[in-house]
């Protein structure tokens, strides 16, 4: 039994956050159903500011948020009418980017601090400690822990409080790869055990695709999009949110075979087979998200022979996008109902003489799949 288990709860925000450039305006209604919602966008856009205003920690900040926050039918902020519920009265847990553990207390005492002030029916401290594998660390002081361990203790402490909504600010940003994977697993474990809804601030697409069912994309000034993660990343003009370098396509695939001799995994995307380096840990039949960056897709008029690239897919040209001041052209392709972006130079476009409706072959470098996104 746990607090608000899988209970629907609504978070409605109408905020204007003063930033150095234009104010960030966020007007959105989030349905919290025990899933992770990513707050995604480039640095400096106001993601942390947004999270702090939800947590109620911006009262002393120079530019505090104006507008309204309604959470589970409680009014937390109504700046026009002087309503401001302070952080300690909000049923919202918050873990900052830097894990702010209490330096004078042991790991166990840090977690107990939250347990003493927890909501009725909050997760048991011992359960959380066991789930996150923190038992060996309990007697240690925070300054003896690694960065990843500190993050997991901070996560445990926030979870033990039992608030149905947990705000996580870039929990993986400062971690190396193994620690990052451990942290993502910890988040998933907690979520499936206790049905906590999470708002996760991140600027790493990989984290968002793995953890978040829904995503809110912020860009300078406001929201670009909000919705199911896959849909949102297909819909938006990604160059605005991701920067030119990372523009690409995302689609769902099913794992159909593992070839342990060649170390390849076969993936089905609507009847088309793609292969990528072996993903042994992923069970056959499970769904994964694939991401292909536009710069990793080449186009050929005829099916090429004698080429090292393994993934060659027949596709149709849907759109050709040139911006006036760039050497590059983005070509939108379609195969089996999926959209695939390809980037080439203007010169290449002229030589191929591509036009909308042409049938071509898309060449996808095997290595261009992002690993373990599901």
């Amino acid at each position: 039994m746990h607090w608000g288990a899988r209970q629907l709860c609504v978070l409605e925000v109408q905020l204007s956050l003063p930033m150095r450039g234009a104010a960030l305006a966020v007007a959105e209604c989030f349905t919290l159903a025990g899933e992770t919602i990513a707050i995604f966008g480039p640095s400096g856009v106001g993601k942390t500011r947004f999270l702090r205003s939800l947590a109620g920690l911006d009262a002393r900040d120079a530019g505090r948020a104006a507008g309204t926050i309604r959470y589970d039918r409680n009014l937390l902020l109504d700046s026009a009418h002087g309503v401001y519920v302070p952080a300690y009265k909000r049923a919202i847990a918050y873990a900052a980017q830097r894990p702010a553990l209490f330096a004078h207390l042991s790991v166990a005492e840090n977690i107990a601090f939250a347990a003493k002030r927890s909501f009725p029916g909050a997760p048991q401290m011992d359960d959380v400690i066991a789930l996150l594998g923190l038992a060996p660390l309990l007697k240690q002081r925070p300054d003896t822990l690694s960065g990843g361990e500190q993050q997991r203790v901070a996560l445990a402490r926030a979870a033990v409080q039992g608030a149905p909504l947990l705000l996580l600010d870039e929990p993986m940003a400062a971690l190396d790869r193994p620690a990052k994977l451990a942290m993502m697993e910890a988040i998933e474990t907690l979520q499936s055990a206790f049905g906590i809804s999470i708002l996760l601030v991140s600027h790493a697409l990989e984290d968002v695709l793995r953890l978040a069912s829904h995503s809110l994309i912020l860009s300078a000034g406001g929201c670009l999009a909000y919705g199911p993660t896959l849909e949102v990343f297909e819909r938006i003009d990604q160059s605005q949110a991701l920067g030119q370098f990372d523009v690409g396509s995302i689609f769902a695939a099913t794992v159909s075979a593992h070839d342990t001799a060649l170390y390849l995994t076969q993936l089905e995307v609507c009847g088309v087979t793609l292969s990528m380096p072996l993903l042994e840990r992923i069970a056959l039949g499970s769904s994964v998200r694939l991401r292909v960056r536009a710069r990793d897709v080449a186009i050929a008029r005829a099916r090429p022979k004698g080429l090292s690239i393994r993934n060659i897919v027949p596709a149709t040209v849907m759109k050709i996008q040139q911006s006036s001041d760039s050497a590059f052209v983005d070509v939108t392709l379609q195969f089996a109902g999926q959209t695939l972006l390809a980037r080439m130079t203007r010169a290449a476009l002229q030589e191929l003489a591509l036009s909308v409706g042409d049938d071509v072959f898309a060449l996808i470098k095997s290595v261009s799949f992002d690993r373990r996104m599901f």
Binding site: L57, Y88, I92, F102, A103, H104, A114, R117, A154, Q161
Partner: protein, 220 residues
Amino acid sequence: MLGPIGLTALLASVTTALLMVFAVPFAWWLARTHSVFKPILEAITAMPLVLPPTVLGFYLLLLFSPANPLGSAWLTLTGETLSFSFTGLVIASMLYSLPFAVQPLQSAFEQLDEAALEAASSLGAGPMDRLFSLALPMARRGVMTAAILTFAHTVGEFGVVLMVGGNIPGETRVISIAIYEHVETLRYAEAHQLSGLMLVFSFVVLMSVYALGRKAAVRA
């Protein structure tokens, strides 16, 4: 009847205890407020550092006098005057030692990890809860420094006591007054004993303050 040493110890203990009760929340507020009154209150708190003790003693003597509302109210309530009494000395000492209690506490509170306090806040700890469960334990060096300095400074006061308390054995005759009297009456042996004691005491106190790490020193 208490001798000068016992009386001094009692005065310093009572003053330190009462002053800490007041100084902790006051310093906590000073450390966290953006109020326009903050510099005014900080200046008032620091005034005993620069005022001659006789000035403070003079105004307190006037305030304690039965001709004034406070003095007369106290006389009606207790049947005693505040001036030339132990209670009057405690009040005077609290004012005189105020900066020695407030300043180390304030600077210790200002150096606290803001992120940890915010974490406590989002974990459901209100302002008073944060003060007692986090700020005081985290600022324990500052608390120790404040208590030790307040105690020592009260032991060492002379001018204010002379003005407000006079020299009544068992009531207001503290060590510094006793030394003064011994010297006046040319009893140097007794003066030596008490003065030597004060020397050793001051050294031990200051050494323990520095050993605490100079984390929260008094700012003049």
